[in-house]
């Protein structure tokens, strides 16, 4: 601090308290609404103090949205996206920074291009791609006239119909969300700052590239990996559009999608108390992650956007 300015400091505290209230008031109202009975929640105005139905409502929401199933799905999907993206990105970042091979710049630009288009803009074709992931292979087969070729070779008439439907499967929920290069670039930037002497020393000692990667590069990257993993976990848990399209089966719904079914619609009973309890439940895991791992979260947030 450069000088003392007690009045300004008080104003600053007031501003920050207002900011914190802006965040907390909606959450507090959600908590209050979640602790009332359905009759109480419809009374206007909403009471300022919570009622005594909080645990009961949590239980109702848990059962009604089938959270025991959808939480599991969310955890699998979020962890799958996190682990998948980090592994794939580490490997490809290692390849494009530590090897001099013919297609290096081509690979770099291919990966780089994927930064430009978020999944939302290519949602329909991506859906088609995942509904039948084998479609490109089918085109290839048609294009090369594999069926005719086979007929010519063996004399048998065959039709090639490849299908690989990933709707309502974990790979279908996870893989399309791994298809972006942000993490690759984070690791690439980091690898470029690793001292060259480490690689030279490892080579002198006769370490193979994979050995160098495993024993030196990976331990150095741990803090980056942890920070990124938090961001990716939040990203995976909070996904909406993709799971919405992709889970026609109720058993595959993620927590956020299952919560959607609790929102009162115009023609149904306005059970806002249950909806708010469900909302609090669905936001609990990511909130805990942020609160408990705050230092890493901040690092990940700032790093991953560079």
């Amino acid at each position: 601090m450069v000088e003392r300015a007690p009045i300004l400091d008080m104003i600053c505290h007031a501003i920050l308290i207002a900011g914190a209230m802006l965040v907390c008031v909606p959450l507090y109202f959600a908590f209050v609404a979640g602790s009332l009975t359905i009759a109480e929640v419809q009374k206007v105005p909403l009471p300022w103090l919570p009622g005594d139905q909080f645990l009961a409502n949590l239980q109702t929401a848990w059962v009604k949205a089938d959270f025991s199933r959808s939480f599991l799905n969310s955890i699998v999907v979020a962890l799958g996206i996190t682990a998948g993206k980090i592994v794939v990105s580490l490997l490809s970042a290692f390849a494009i920074t530590y090897f001099r091979f013919r297609y290096r710049m081509l690979a770099f630009w291919l990966i780089f291009m994927s930064l430009m288009l978020p999944i939302e803009v290519r949602i329909v074709p991506t859906f088609e791609a995942v509904a039948n992931a084998a479609l490109p292979l089918q085109w290839l087969a048609d294009l090369l006239h594999v069926a005719d070729l086979w007929k010519w070779v063996s004399g048998h008439d065959v039709t090639i119909a490849l299908e690989w439907n990933m709707v309502n499967t974990y790979p279908g929920l996870i893989l399309p969300l791994i298809a972006s290069a942000t993490a690759t670039f984070l690791f690439r930037q980091f690898f470029l700052t690793v001292p060259d002497e480490l690689c030279e020393a490892a080579r002198l000692d006769g370490a193979s590239p994979l050995r160098f990667f495993w024993s030196i590069l990976l331990p150095l990257s741990v803090s980056n990996i942890v920070a990124l993993a938090i961001i990716l976990f939040l990203f995976g848990w909070n996904q909406y559009l993709w799971p919405l399209l992709f889970t026609t089966d109720k058993d595959m719904a993620t927590a956020v999608i299952a919560l959607k079914n609790l929102i009162p619609r115009a023609d149904s009973e306005p059970a806002w108390n249950i909806a708010m309890s469900g909302a609090l439940l669905a936001m609990l895991p990511p909130t805990l992650v942020i609160l408990l791992l705050q230092r890493w979260f901040l690092k990940g947030l700032v790093d991953s956007s560079k």
Binding site: I15, S92, F99, R100, S114, R122, T184, P209, P270, W272
Partner: protein, 357 residues
């Protein structure tokens, strides 16, 4: 320019045979026509020494000086998972969006015609699409201004206070953990015209508030929910940016008699310029694409299309109306927009390097 170490370029590695020609990149490494580079240290050095005369960097951009040499086998294997995933779930879908945008097919996909740019023409002629454009513009600009304004004020205050700073920061960052859909649901409850406590306050003030019927109210509701969710993002970047403003500069200005607010506007804010520019671009990307969840959970694009932003319209036309050609054409327009945003971000990268913020 650094002289390349002999170790880095000599072929120790069995996986990396050094004598493969590298068509794409060789000119940056050594003079053209030099055979089997890297086999002898002397030729490699000679090649390196000649490189700067042609104004070339001494190595490929983004390649470690100490690398594992040539040989395509292992790196190809390492890249394979990433490239396959990108191929199947990024490149092929993107290309299909491009091709579909110039095709016209019926909902069952039995007949397909090539129609040049008719889908785009129909799109721009339709009042619905133009309304969606206007809605999106209002939505993103309002969200951007609100988010940035609040984040700048909060960041300034955070930079001033000493006591309880981390408590404030933790609380303000909390919405980052909350899914956009859940943020939407919270605000939908607060401003629910029947039971919402804040809607009740508005009614008490004599404002007739009903986002289910009044288009403007619905738009404001989603703008508020979207901003609430995103303030934390802008805030943390501004806090980090403010920490990077040199203290000596601030002290010098204080000695010259500039007060804290004056210093903020005349020194800190201009130095944060690149950060704010970056955040504005990120806010637009967020507003254009990630707010889908808020719209779908709160208003379903209604009432009367008042919150039907572009990305929601792509979804409705593609999956509910099954108008694939039109949906693909809209996707292509959105892609163009996303490209512009990305290119703008690269400008930020340049600036960031210059200012060191």
């Amino acid at each position: 320019m650094k002289a390349s170490s002999p170790i880095a370029t000599s072929p120790i590695w069995p996986e990396a045979p050094a004598d493969r020609p590298s068509g794409l990149t060789r000119s940056q490494h050594k003079s053209p026509g030099e055979p089997a580079a890297g086999r002898s240290v002397a030729t490699e050095r000679a090649g390196k020494a000649r490189a700067p005369k042609r104004g070339q960097p001494d190595r490929e951009p983004g390649l470690k000086r100490a690398n594992f040499g040539r040989g395509a086998g292992l790196p190809t294997l390492l890249l394979l998972p990433q490239v396959l995933i990108l191929l199947f779930f990024f490149f092929i879908p993107s290309l299909r969006a491009l091709t579909q945008s110039v095709l016209l097919s019926d909902p069952f996909g039995t007949t397909v015609h090539f129609v040049w740019f008719d889908n785009f023409k129909t799109l721009f002629a339709s009042g619905e699409y133009r309304q969606s454009l206007v809605t999106t513009a209002w939505f993103t600009v309002a969200q951007n201004v609100i988010t940035l304004a609040i984040a700048v004020v909060l960041a300034f205050a955070t930079d001033r206070v000493v006591r309880a700073r981390s408590v404030y920061r933790t609380l303000i960052l909390l919405p980052y953990a909350i899914a956009p859909a859940i943020a939407g649901i919270l605000w939908a409850f607060l401003f629910n015209p029947v039971v919402g406590p804040l809607a009740h306050m508005l009614h008490a003030l004599g404002i007739s508030w009903d986002p289910n019927r009044n288009p403007n109210d619905a738009l404001w509701l989603v703008i508020m929910a979207a901003s609430w969710k995103h303030i934390c993002y802008d805030y943390i970047f501004l806090v980090v940016g403010l920490l990077a403003v040199p203290v000596s500069l601030m002290e010098a200005a204080a000695v010259d008699g500039a007060g804290p607010i004056r210093r903020f506007f005349l020194i800190a804010l201009p130095m944060l310029g690149p950060t704010i520019f970056f955040l504005a671009v990120m806010n637009f990307i967020y507003g254009f694409f990630e707010t889908f969840a808020i719209i779908d959970a709160v208003t379903h694009g209604g009432p009367a299309g008042a919150t039907n932003i572009l990305v929601y319209k792509v979804f409705v036309d593609g999956f509910i109306n099954l108008d694939l050609g039109s949906s693909a054409a809209q996707s292509v327009l959105l892609m163009t927009f996303a490209l512009i945003c990305t290119l703008l971000q690269f400008r930020y990268f340049d600036h960031k390097v210059n200012y060191g913020v």
